[in-house]
Symmetry: C2
Amino acid sequence: MGTTQLETVPEPKYWHLKTVLSEALDSEFSVGEILPNERDLAARFGVARATLRQALEQLELEGRLQRRRGVGTTVAPPRMGVAVGTEQRAWPGVAGDTWQLADCAMAAPPAAVAGILESLQGEQVYTVRRSRVTRGQPVAAELLYVPASSVPGLSAVDTRSGTARARSVLRELQRLELEGQDSAVELGSARAEDAKELDRLPGAPVLVVTTRFFAEGRTAAVSVATYRADTCRLTFGDSGGIEIHDGPERRAS
Amino acid sequence: MGTTQLETVPEPKYWHLKTVLSEALDSEFSVGEILPNERDLAARFGVARATLRQALEQLELEGRLQRRRGVGTTVAPPRMGVAVGTEQRAWPGVAGDTWQLADCAMAAPPAAVAGILESLQGEQVYTVRRSRVTRGQPVAAELLYVPASSVPGLSAVDTRSGTARARSVLRELQRLELEGQDSAVELGSARAEDAKELDRLPGAPVLVVTTRFFAEGRTAAVSVATYRADTCRLTFGDSGGIEIHDGPERRAS
């Protein structure tokens, strides 16, 4: 990278620097390569370190860079396309599901989930924990909330292990006729437990997908899935399986 | 809010503070109310200002707080549900479309969009700019890229105004049979132009939705829509019209 003086540019310095850095990443660096340290980079581009940091943060938000503890800042691979919506409705855990069961507990859901489920405050529901791994990398952690009324065939005094119990809950849930499902995606911050599972720091930006499953004229289950925002792009629509390998905004600066 | 000493808590201080603050927001503050300044807040909770700032940033990511220039930090209203996927395929601009046409220009798309469109590098395409307003608030800015080959009936020497030309492009596009469409959503940072339109600072976190429209066995158009991440949750699925007013992660700390 050559020295580029940015003194005369009218837009915010970090913004222009981001564009310059982005072009340098395309032309001079390969995926996984470690960037020079901040002091060297700031000197090369003739900017203050605060300006450099702002530009690096932008590039991290856009998925171009990854900051990894003990490694430094590396050039990120293209984000993975991860399907979150398909044409067909399906209960969690049916054949072809990409999630792995981890655990099941009885717990009082967060107030907002209780609101969606129209359960009483403090009422415990089956809480199934699942995780999703794509290409060997953890991409999402999910909590699936299932009220006991949705799985009436399940024995309350179930002493089997967490995974076996999780399987039972899903099997019982699948007995209901699924009438519809909808999802919403929004920005969130990783809860400590999810962050650990996703190999991120607590509070890292994540994409939270909330899915409601409708049966018997009510919400029979709610899934709250936390996806890594740095490595994933969430795909939906009638060609959900097709991956867009290199999203427009990667270079749309 | 009373004074709460956090010295003895094992998890990161800002994390616990976030939970405490979140509960205070629920019980003591109403939507739109301005929070006390950082110094006062830090003193009340017995934490350093850096810790307070981290907690405030988390709450902002989660949509609980809004920082507004010249106003301060306020309690955010619940995020709006904005539908981005429906059961039915539809070209942009058909009846019932919630987008407003703003402009149309010929421009070379970003490299990644050119890649999806399989257009030549530097080749100019129709670039329609649209905006989306929900409940009086700007929620998204879109660039719709349409290669000339997708709208062969359109005269190249079209001298009408930007909006009229945008309308012509969409009308011509709608002549093609839409064979499918898919979308992907991912985290991004607001480009300067979008930020202005969305009343955000450049670089603010946004949700970028990229939609491909398929016709005649190829990608006939690509839309890149930038949604405000602070005020919106994007809904999709077969009950896309239903809004989830209070998302689980709002209180799922």
